[in-house]
């Protein structure tokens, strides 16, 4: 069972990381969600996989580990808050920049444009330096 869970966490990580590396904000948000599933499961499994054991005090002789559970519970809620923030940020970015690319600029236009901007900024820097002399 441990092996299966480990593999499942691995696959969730795989798809999560791959999506995080995508260029569109929504895909990144999907990836972050998947990745947080993986991390939550990972943290949870640090308390080992217990079957049928209570976390509530009773007459039982052995219990599951409540510490990772408490950690993961807050992690889930915070994860939701962060996902929400990222999503709304991407929405705002899309409206402001007219693109849902993570760099805020559409890729095909990016290459020549960016180089030009860089050259200009270097020149203006040089100018500023000259002025201070």
């Amino acid at each position: 069972m441990e092996l299966l869970v480990a593999i499942a966490i691995g696959v969730l990580t795989f798809s999560g990381v791959y999506l995080i590396l995508r260029a569109r904000t929504f895909s990144v948000a999907l990836g972050l969600t998947l990745f947080s599933y993986a991390v939550n499961l990972f943290l949870f499994s640090m308390g080992r996989l217990h079957t049928g054991k209570p976390a509530v005090l009773s007459d039982a002789t052995s219990y599951t580990d409540p510490v990772p559970q408490a950690l993961v519970l807050t992690a889930i809620v915070i994860g939701f808050a962060m996902t929400a923030f990222v999503l709304i940020l991407s929405l705002r970015a899309h409206t402001e920049l007219g693109s849902d690319h993570v760099d805020g600029v559409e890729k095909p236009k990016l290459e020549p444009k960016q180089r030009k901007v860089k050259g200009q900024s270097n020149q203006s820097k040089r100018k500023r330096f000259g002025a201070t002399r």
Binding site: F14, V17, L73
Partner: protein
């Protein structure tokens, strides 16, 4: 205690000038003078003990692991320096009162001056090398503020930056040197370090330590080849130059030479490095000073030359040379400070510092002229003035060294030549400024004497020059003796501090220097022509050029790494993670641990398979947003089931509800974003991303498996044992959240509340057009609020609220709690919003969502504070069991109130986020309808 006050009073008093800022310069100056006056009084009260040779010290442990202690010691040497710092500091404060104009930021100036004074006192009084280094760096920083005081001037900014770069860089070298010394000696305490001189000198690391420490010394004391910063620091206001660049900061370097003399001196390394650096500096400074047209430039190069002289004396291998060096430190401080002040007066009254224009001032300001002439003569080494005494001691010492063998004549010859130039530039200072024709084209004309009180500091200093020069044995000898003894670390040899030693070589050298100096000045015209012909190397241009080169080089390098692509950054980051984890996991000899695997049950395996497949499908369909989202929700649901399967009912409940909210949110956002993503990554890029993802996945899986198959020691037992007795609940997870780790939870709900408010800010003013058709051209339903959903939502609401209340109430003892209950309530309300619109819900709620979220955090925090009021630590919980008729025993715990805070925050925060998103669509819809 006295020492602590002495060092820290100026730091505290640095605020005083600001308090007096509204009341004019006099009050500000008075406020600034409080600390130095008190310090001077304290210091003088220790005179008898210090003169008796006692060492007063205090020591408090600070960071003992590093060997850093808050330890201070007052012996003869530090007494002498403290006296200079405080005494000249007071005079400079008085002087600066009249030098600065009303319009300038006077309070800031005095405050920086006090900061510098405190740093300097800390430096000379520190009894621990690391502590001394801290103050050393503080002097660099505070002098940066002072040099750059006129920050509107480019020259001031560049001068300050150069000074900081050079002295700060030297400070780093010094730090390294001190660390080497500490490594060899085993302590940073000055007493122990100074006693370990033989140990260090015999050690193989001695040359390293010496060179590093000397780098610090030479940069601070403006020794060749690091001397270039000092003339450019002359862009500082003149009181700063008088204080920092004559009496104190540049003396910090030679102070360190005196302080560490017993530790480092007495070797060939020391002799050659220190002596020749000093000699070179002495000559270069003296010669260059003559050719400066700027009054302060002349004084700056003269200071460099005198510092070289002092350094040279420390390098000579005799017990007597440090005495002469320390004597010259005192003398130089007095006459150079007064000369700077005189130069400042001239600048102030004429508006120029160019000696080609300032001529014949004798007519206009005779009083100042006399003072400046006496001080200048002391600089030249004219008999009956203090400069003469120490210079003669210097000449005599150069004659007594024999380490150079047949080249022993070199030092006295060079010393005499330097002496000649010193006389020549002193003469120029007198003749060019006060005689030599009439003023040419001065900005302020005619000049007149400065305010009475501006001259008093100069008068006091010049008087000291005379007094020491005429009566050395009565005035300075006892102080000099204890200072020199403290520096040497043992008793002094016999010496005679007198004006007249009979006809001998040093007297002849002094005489030669005087005659030679006059001759050089008389023949200055061809010399000036020769100097004009030299290639013009402006240190500032060289320095700025190298800064620019470095800057360009770094930004080119950065541009290579930072190309603006976030995808690239994150992939670099992930690669770094993979590499580091692989390196750390590599020693793991086998992945499988000793714990046997639990058997696989087919149903769980199937669940995991569904989860894995949906995750991969999410990935595969990520370009079709809706499909990907549906797949993602399957993953989330199975995750909830996995939690339930492995004995975590609380997690399962939370995951389930959060999943619902998350998917709703994503649907809302996806509605406004492009429905499909274009295919744009190249296959190479895909390969990179696949490999990175695979690397992460393999590491994660291996790590999980390796941990799961190994035994572990959990801290769970503590919580299990104390949950009921200490927290009053049987649901351990919930008790951990609201009680044991309540502070964490408080932080987390704060984050939730802040995030939700941040989303409101992000959505502020956002108006998005609503699509009429979907991406396949089908029209969206025009019906805003479907009736079926409305009826259903109304039905569900009370039920959901009931469940929510149930979950909340039982949360302490059974799975449930504030988080889960809050999320259930939120889901029910969101459903209502979907059915009837955000406005409809909001008007019926009667309470704003931000208020709800804030109230939640406040209630939770107040619960914690209440326990603080009752005398318990923050967030201690109390509980009691009450018997109610009909219902039975009920437990009332303060943790319940805390959980209520959690509940309200979750409801408020979640609704805030979702209703904000619901609103942006409507804002556009309304005008269309109208």
């Amino acid at each position: 205690m006295v020492l602590l006050i002495l060092v820290f009073a100026p730091f505290l008093a640095a605020l005083l000038p600001f308090l007096a800022a509204q009341r004019g310069r006099t009050w500000i100056a008075l406020a600034a003078a409080v600390a130095p006056l008190a310090g001077l009084g304290l210091l003088l009260s220790q005179t008898s003990q210090v003169l008796a040779g006692e060492v007063i010290s205090v020591k408090y442990a600070w960071i003992t692991q590093l060997g850093l202690n808050l330890s201070f010691r007052l012996d003869g040497l530090s007494f002498l320096f403290s006296l200079l710092i405080l005494g000249i500091g007071l005079l400079v404060i008085l002087y600066a009162r009249y030098y600065l104009s009303e319009q300038e930021r006077v309070a800031r100036f005095f405050s920086s001056l006090l900061l510098f004074m405190g740093s300097m006192l800390g430096l000379v009084l520190a009894g621990n090398l690391l502590l001394m280094l801290m103050f050393w760096e503080l002097t660099s920083l505070s002098s940066f503020l002072l040099i750059g005081f006129w920050s509107q001037q480019t020259a001031a900014r560049q001068g300050a930056r150069m000074a900081l770069a050079v002295t700060g860089g030297g400070g780093l070298a010094l730090l390294a040197g001190i660390l080497v010394i500490g490594h060899v000696v085993g302590s940073y305490e000055l007493t122990e370090v100074l006693a370990a001189g033989d140990l260090l000198r015999a050690h193989s690391l001695y040359p390293v330590a010496l060179v590093l420490v000397l780098l610090g010394v030479f940069t601070k004391s403006a020794q060749f080849p690091f001397h270039f910063w000092l003339p450019h620091a002359m862009s500082a206001p003149t009181p700063v130059s008088a204080y920092l660049h004559s009496a104190t900061m540049v003396k910090a370097g030679v102070f360190l030479l005196a302080r560490l003399y017993p530790l480092l001196s007495g070797t060939d390394w020391w002799f050659y490095l220190v002596t020749f650096t000093g000699l070179t500096t002495l000559l270069i400074g003296a010669v260059t000073a003559l050719f400066q047209h700027d009054l302060k430039g002349l004084l700056a190069y003269s200071t460099i030359s005198h510092l070289g002289l002092i350094t040279l004396l420390f390098g000579l291998d005799s017990d007597f040379a440090p005495v002469a060096a320390i004597f010259h430190i005192i003398n130089h401080a007095t006459f150079k400070a007064s000369l700077f002040m005189a130069a400042g007066i001239i600048d102030h009254e004429t508006g120029s510092r160019d000696m080609r224009r300032i001529n014949g001032l004798w007519k206009y300001m005779p009083h100042t002229a006399v003072l400046a002439m006496v001080a200048s003569s002391a600089m030249a080494g004219v008999p009956l003035l203090n400069g003469f005494l120490s210079k003669e001691m210097f000449f005599s010492e150069t004659l007594h060294q024999h380490l150079l063998g047949s080249f022993s004549w070199l030092l006295p010859t060079m010393a005499t030549i330097a002496g000649m130039f010193s006389v020549a530039y002193s003469l120029r200072f007198i003749h060019d400024v006060f005689f030599n024709g009439v003023p040419i084209n001065l900005p302020k004309f005619p000049p007149h004497e400065p305010p009475r009180y501006m001259k008093i500091p100069v008068e006091i200093l010049v008087f000291c020059c005379l007094l020491v020069g005429v009566l050395p044995a009565w005035t300075i000898s006892s102080l000099l003796a204890v200072a020199a003894e403290a520096s040497l670390g043992h008793a002094l040899p016999e010496y005679d501090l007198a004006i007249w030693h009979g006809f001998n070589m040093p007297l002849l050298m002094s005489f030669l220097a005087l005659i030679g100096g006059v001759l050089i000045y008389a023949q200055r015209a061809p010399l000036f022509r020769w100097y004009e012909g030299l290639p013009d190397i402006n240190a500032r241009n060289v320095f700025e050029g190298s800064v620019r080169f470095l800057y360009g080089w770094v930004s080119r390098g950065l541009a290579r790494i930072e190309n603006g692509s976030l995808q690239r950054y994150i992939s670099l980051l992930l690669i770094a993670v993979i590499v580091m984890l692989t390196v750390w996991l590599a020693p793991l000899s086998q992945v499988t641990g000793e714990i046997a695997l639990t058997p696989v049950d087919p149903l769980t395996a199937l669940g995991l398979l569904v989860m894995v497949c949906s995750a991969l499908l999410t990935m595969a369909f990520h370009r079709q947003r809706l499909t990907a989202l549906l797949m993602l929700s399957v993953v989330g649901l199975v995750v909830a089931m996995v939690f339930a399967r492995f004995s975590a009912p609380d997690l399962a409940l939370t995951q389930l509800v959060v999943e619902v909210v998350t998917i709703l949110l994503m649907l809302l956002v996806a509605y406004f974003l492009p429905a499909q993503a274009p295919r744009e990554s190249s296959s190479l890029l895909h390969l990179r991303d696949y490999s990175i993802a695979a690397g992460c996945a393999i590491l994660m899986a291996v790590l999980t498996f390796a941990v799961l198959t190994r035994p572990y020691q959990s801290i769970a037992d503590f919580f299990l044992a104390n949950s009921l007795t200490g927290g009053g609940g049987t649901n351990v997870v919930n008790v951990i959240l609201v009680d044991f780790r309540g502070f964490d939870t408080l932080g987390e709900i704060s984050v939730l509340a802040i995030t939700s408010i941040a989303t409101v800010a992000l959505l502020q003013g956002l108006q998005l057009p609503r699509a009429r058709v979907d991406n396949q051209g089908r029209a969206w339903s025009t019906e805003d609020y479907p009736m079926m959903l409305g009826v259903l939502a109304r039905l569900i609401l009370p039920l959901a609220l009931l469940v929510s209340a149930f979950m909340f109430l039982r949360g302490h003892n059974e799975p449930g709690g504030g988080f889960i209950a809050g999320l259930i309530t939120a889901v029910a309300l969101i459903l209502l919003q979907v059915a009837y619109g955000q406005r409809w819900v909001q008007t019926r709620m009667g309470v704003q969502f931000p208020v709800l979220a804030a109230a939640g955090v406040l209630i939770a925090a107040a619960t914690g504070l209440a326990s603080l009021l009752l005398g318990y630590p923050f967030l201690t919980s109390a509980f009691a069991h009450i018997d109610l008729p009909l219902i039975g025993e009920i437990e009332v715990a303060s943790a319940m109130l805390f959980d209520l805070g959690v509940y309200l925050t979750v409801v408020g925060g979640t609704l805030l986020i979702l209703s904000g998103l619901g609103r942006i669509g409507h804002t556009v819809k309304l005008p269309e309808d109208a």
